[in-house]
Structure formats: structure tokens, C-alpha cells
Symmetry: C2
Subunit: 442 residues, 2 copies
Amino acid sequence: MAASRQLHLGAFMRPTTIHTGAWRYPGAFPDANFNFAHLKRFAQTLEQGCFDAFFMADHLALLNMPMEALKRSHTVTSFDPLTLLPALAAVTERIGLIATASTTFNEPYHVARKFASLDHLSGGRAGWNVVTTSNPDAALNFGLEEHVEHGERYRRGREFFDVVTGLWDSWADDAFLRDQEQGLFFDPDRLHVLDHRGEHFRVRGPLNVARPIQGWPVIVQAGASEAGRQLAAETAEVIFAATPTLADGQRFYRDVKGRLAALGRAPEQLKILPGAFVVVGGTPEEARAKRARLDSLVYYESGIAALSIALGHDASRFDPDGSLPEIPPSNASHSGRERAIALAQREGLTVRQLAQRLGGYAGLAMVGTAASIADQMEEWLLSEACDGFNVMFSHVPGGLDDFVGQVVPELQRRGLFRRAYEGRTLRDHLGLPRPANRFFPD
Amino acid sequence: MAASRQLHLGAFMRPTTIHTGAWRYPGAFPDANFNFAHLKRFAQTLEQGCFDAFFMADHLALLNMPMEALKRSHTVTSFDPLTLLPALAAVTERIGLIATASTTFNEPYHVARKFASLDHLSGGRAGWNVVTTSNPDAALNFGLEEHVEHGERYRRGREFFDVVTGLWDSWADDAFLRDQEQGLFFDPDRLHVLDHRGEHFRVRGPLNVARPIQGWPVIVQAGASEAGRQLAAETAEVIFAATPTLADGQRFYRDVKGRLAALGRAPEQLKILPGAFVVVGGTPEEARAKRARLDSLVYYESGIAALSIALGHDASRFDPDGSLPEIPPSNASHSGRERAIALAQREGLTVRQLAQRLGGYAGLAMVGTAASIADQMEEWLLSEACDGFNVMFSHVPGGLDDFVGQVVPELQRRGLFRRAYEGRTLRDHLGLPRPANRFFPD
């Protein structure tokens, strides 16, 4: 029985898990982010679980953290997403493949061509997570001494998007005749030369790749700032939201969906998928113990640094095994401080446990049995806080296998998630329309 | 029995065949350059034939030819090589994968990262064909009004190469400890920050990908100019040569190999593989008839344009079905004119046939039985005109299947080509050493 609304699930791979202690978890593959055999297995397992997409983050530099912390992080390296995802396309059949690519450190012709190629290679399964790149170290790898300022990054990003989508529309869907008898490979009347001349880019076109199978690969964004939300409302089809509580989720959902009507878009044309870190256990206690174990593997100094930032106060002098002391007022963000204090009280965490929680993963987490995680997901979906989730696994392969093996069947039993793919493209999975060609609307 | 020297064979895919009439040949797949199922089959067939590499050309714009000719050309579009080859890596085990990437229209950090990713994904099978891009239309897709001048392209290309190889050496081969117990993911003492500051590039590094399995992906070049030859002698490990005759091949081979000693390199460290267009028939007559059929499918006006350029004289007024008339002297290259006239006389070609030959493929061609093609290849190899070939197939799948099914076994019988892969990496296949890490020589 299908519920009136169903969840969409992306697997957020950064490149495998986001938790900084995950690679040390018992049974975890410490080289997973660099071992294609493992990554292939993960993608195939996710496809067995009918996930909408394998969603890959990107980094154009080492993460900017102190070396003492960096050397303990498995996220220090990862494959280029647009090199990994074509390989995964060749060993999967249905799952969508979303790659992150920066508009600040790329050329639109390359980005248009690579995503168009991936869409063709994969039979219409590509998605582009459009980011403007906030790591300032990336600029130093691309000839810039200073990071590009936020507003300028967004202006460039918007023009970049226009160029890329314009290039995707270079060819009408029926442009390629391939008439062997007449010797006509394409119809020149069904070819458009973009000839873009804007503030940031001059790109003549046309793209030397046929229009993507999906028209355009699915457009994904994650911006949470005002500029980011507005750009997403104008252009995105999926938003990767970072809403830590149900109330935050509902507010964000209302805000962004509310912007669509004025832009001539229907609410269904933009799916909002918050990130959700999941830890599955046979009992609630087992799940909590798993998470505690995972957090205990976080480098303590990294955790203390994260806690100090949250509190606006140096936490390194606190007794690690004591409870959080009273802290004098500071200029730190009140919400961060209040959340940290409330978290410590609610779960009865020591300073060490709180620090390692913040240094591991501090956003929305679902820790429990398959049934309780399904309850939470159902509540978010039915109370209009989301259209689904970008799931982040506690560790690989165990955490991924647990989710696919236990939570997915529970969601399916409740009619909240598909039991089989109905379509072939990522747009099919997400229920998104195929964009018309702006130059060949017929 | 292995001969004292053996051939190396690359399959040059542009993206499938270079001959402009190939897609119209009876039985040819007209959509081969855009159909992953076909491309996968080709790569797997080439791997069964023990080819050293699948070698993919690249174009950053439509080919710059008149629309009347362009619309008849199957080479108008192709996948981005660095998107296609990872997909082929996932469905093959041994064959090398060489992608063309331009130093004029890319950033070195991206190129270093993508090839390093491909090398890891493929188990050490990546090669980089370093090009400076001669199609002036490409500049218009990357914000430039005018094409970058030849000497400047080469200076930038050389610095680009230094940055990319420096980034590949960011990590010692043993840098990644992945010590789950101690929580140490890498050893910071085995990490080098490049901090390159040159005329064209400032790139801090390090690369956020481990050192490639091959140390560096194999470096391939095709430059034939003086600047191109010298750059190749300094940096290349494979040269894709364009030498139309045995004597040309021998001269080029002597010239380039002769430059190596002064650079401290051994002759074996640079393999010279001329492009060879092959047409296989059961008899010599059948092979010639196949080629004539193929040439007859070339758009006549394209052929006449090519012939006019070769002759330095407008050929469009000639009787297409007559023989080539006497032509008054001109300023055209003597060698091009003489070659065209000699070709027409040697093969008794009409104006139409000559034009279509030049408009199809006019370089080194081996047209005959498996035995006669093997004879030619053996002669080139043993007379030091090459170390092997980049084979260009007449059409796909037929021409490719003919070569793998008939010519490869003949070469194997003569001990001129491997019967099975002995190693796993492209360097293994080519007999090239693994480069030392310049920052961690131990």
C-alpha cells in the first residue's frame, strides 16, 4: 500500500561517511573512500534499496583544519566526483548519480559537457549539486590569493547556471538524424549557438554533446543563506537542507516552498531533503551505544575545538570527565551555545562526550531501531518538514547495510518508500518534469 | 615465440573512427560515438585483443568546418573523455585508458585530480595525452576572443605539466597509514605542499588524492612541431606520431629518440606509436574495395576542399570522373601537392576518388589482408620506424572486429604481440618505469 506521500532518499557520500570517527569503527573499511571495489558495492547495495540517488560531495582542497586534526580524518582525500560517478554508472542500472561541482572554480563549458556526458552514459541518471565552494583554501589551488566574496560567488554562480543550461539546450532533442543513406548526421536548423556574453563569462557554444537524456540533469543545491535560498527557489529541483530539528525543518520547508509560486513554479518541482545521520540498532539502547562508541573514536582535541566554537569559550580547561560547567556570557551565537548546553543536559553527556559529539556529527541524527527511525522519517514527511532525506551513514559498510537491510523494508511496509524503481531516470525517481528546451520549445 | 621486439598497440578512438564516411558504411553503428553499450563492447573487444590502451581524442568545440560539411560528420559530438573512460574502467580489467586533456583550457589542479582519480579507479591504467589544443573555436568557448598563440601555448603547457606532476607527488606512496587503533589516517611527514608560483599558475596544493598507482599516469603527446618534439623528448612516454611513410617514420623516430640521451633518458622510456588507419580484407582486392566503398561515402564537397588545399588550386571545376589534370604551379606546400599527384597516379584515382580519399583519411593506411598488414607493421617495427601503432579502425564494429579477430592473431603467431597481458598497469603493458616521487625519492 502506497501512502499519499512517499519519501525520496539520497545517500550522501562524503565520500563515504561524514562522521570523523567512522573509519575507526569496528568492522569499518578504513580505505573505503579510495577503494573502488568498496564504492561499487555500496552503490549496488543502495540500488537494491531503491535509493533515488548516490550523492557525492566535493572538496577542491584539503579540509582546512589544523594538521593535528587533519591527519586523523578520513575525509582528507576523495575521488573527483565526476570521475567516480561515471564508473559507478557503468556498474548500476537505476540509481541516480549526483555530483557536486563548483561554479567558482570551473568553466561552464566543461561542467555542461561532463554532466551531459554522464547523463548520456548513465541513461539519464545525472544530477548536478551546484555549489559556490566555501573552503577558502580552494582558491589557493586555482591561482587566487583570496577567496571570492560571498555575493560575488552567488552572482557568478547564477550566470554559470544560465550558461550551463543554455549549453545543454544547444541541440533540439531530434537534432541528430544519423541518416546513413542521405549522409546527414544532424539537422543544422535544430542547432542553437548560445553566444553568451555576460558579466563573468563569454561562451559561444554550441555544446559538442547532444542534449542530455533528461533534458537537463537534475539541479541540486544546498545554500541556506538568503542568497542561497533564493537561488534555490529560482533554479533548484532538489535542496539538501541542514535543518537540525523538526521545527527548523518545517520553517525551512514553508519558507522555500513559499517562494515558488511567485516564480511560477509548483511546490512539487522542488524536493527538500534534509541531511539525516542514521545509526541503526536492534534496540534503542544498542543504537545509542553504537553512537557513543562512534563518538568516542573522534579525536578529542578536534571535539574540544568544535565545543569551544559552539560555546564561544575555551573548553580545553574543562574536566573532560566532568559535566559541563557554568559558562560566562560571550559574543558567540546564542543558538549554538544553547543547543550545546541543552544537548549535554538532555543526554547527560560529559565534556568529553559532548565535545566528541560535536566533533563527530552534530546535525539532525536518527538513532534508534528501524521502527523508530521510520517513525521519525514519517513524522517529518507527513508534517511537511521534508520530501525525504539525504541519509548519512554511521560507517561503511555496516551502517549502510543496516539502513538498507532494516530501515528501508520498514519504510516499504508502511507504504512510505518504493519497493521497486518505476522509471529509469533520476527525474522519474524524483517525480520531476523534463525541462523544455528554451530554444526549441516544440 | 616472442620476437626480440614486440609491438605496442593503442586503439585511437575519435571517438570511434576518424574516417568521415565511416558512420555510413554498411553495418556501421551510426550512433556509436554516443552509445555507451557500443563503446563498452569495443573496449572489451580491444581488451580481448590485448591492446595496450583505448586512446580517446578530445575536442572542446565543434570541429571548425563549414556547416555543409559539418552536418555530415559523425565526429561533430563526442563524450568528454574523462567522463567516458572511468565508465570503461569499470567494465574492463587490464586495458589502458588514455584521455586527451588540454593544457590551454583547463586548470592543473582539476587535471591532476581527475587523472589521479582515474588511475586509482582503474587499478593503474590511466594515461594523459597532453595537448595544447589547436582548434581556435575552442577559445571562444572559454572566454577568449582570440586563440592563444603557439609558443605561448607551449610555455603554458610545459608549466602546466610541471604543476600536475608536482601535485601527483604530493603524497609519498606510504603516506596513508589508516591506523584504526591509533586513529592516524596519514603521516604528515609524508605530505608535500607544492606551493607552485610560476609565470602562468599559482597552485598551493597538496592534491587531495593519494599518489596515483602508477606514480604518474603515462604521459602521451602528439606534437610534431619543433616545440612539440622537444617537449615530448623532455616529458613524454608515448608519442602519437603522424608519419605517413616508412621513411618519414624512420626520420621522426631517429630525431626524437636522438634527443633523449642529452636529457638523461633511455630510448626505451619513450615509445613512438604512429597512427595507422587499417582496412582488413580476406584478399587484397577485397580490402581495396572496402576502402573505395568507405571513401565513396565521404561528402564530395569536403573532399574537394581537402584536395584544393593539398594542390593549392581550386579543384571544384575539375571533371569529377576524369583523371587529375595538369595544374599550374602555386605557393602551396610542394610535399602536399606532390603526394596528392603521386597518389592519384599510383592508384589510378579519378578526381572524385582522390578528393574523397583526402576528405576521408589521408595519412598512413594499411589496406590488405591480415598477413600483409602484419608484414607492414613488422617492417615498421624492425626497421626502427616505430615501437607500435595507434590503430584507427575503418568503421565500427566491423573494422575493429576484423582487426582484433584477424590481424592480432597473425601478429601473435609471429611473436610480435602479446597473447595475454603480463602486468596490470598501463606502464606494465608499455614497459615503462614507475616515476620516482620528486619530493620523497626514497
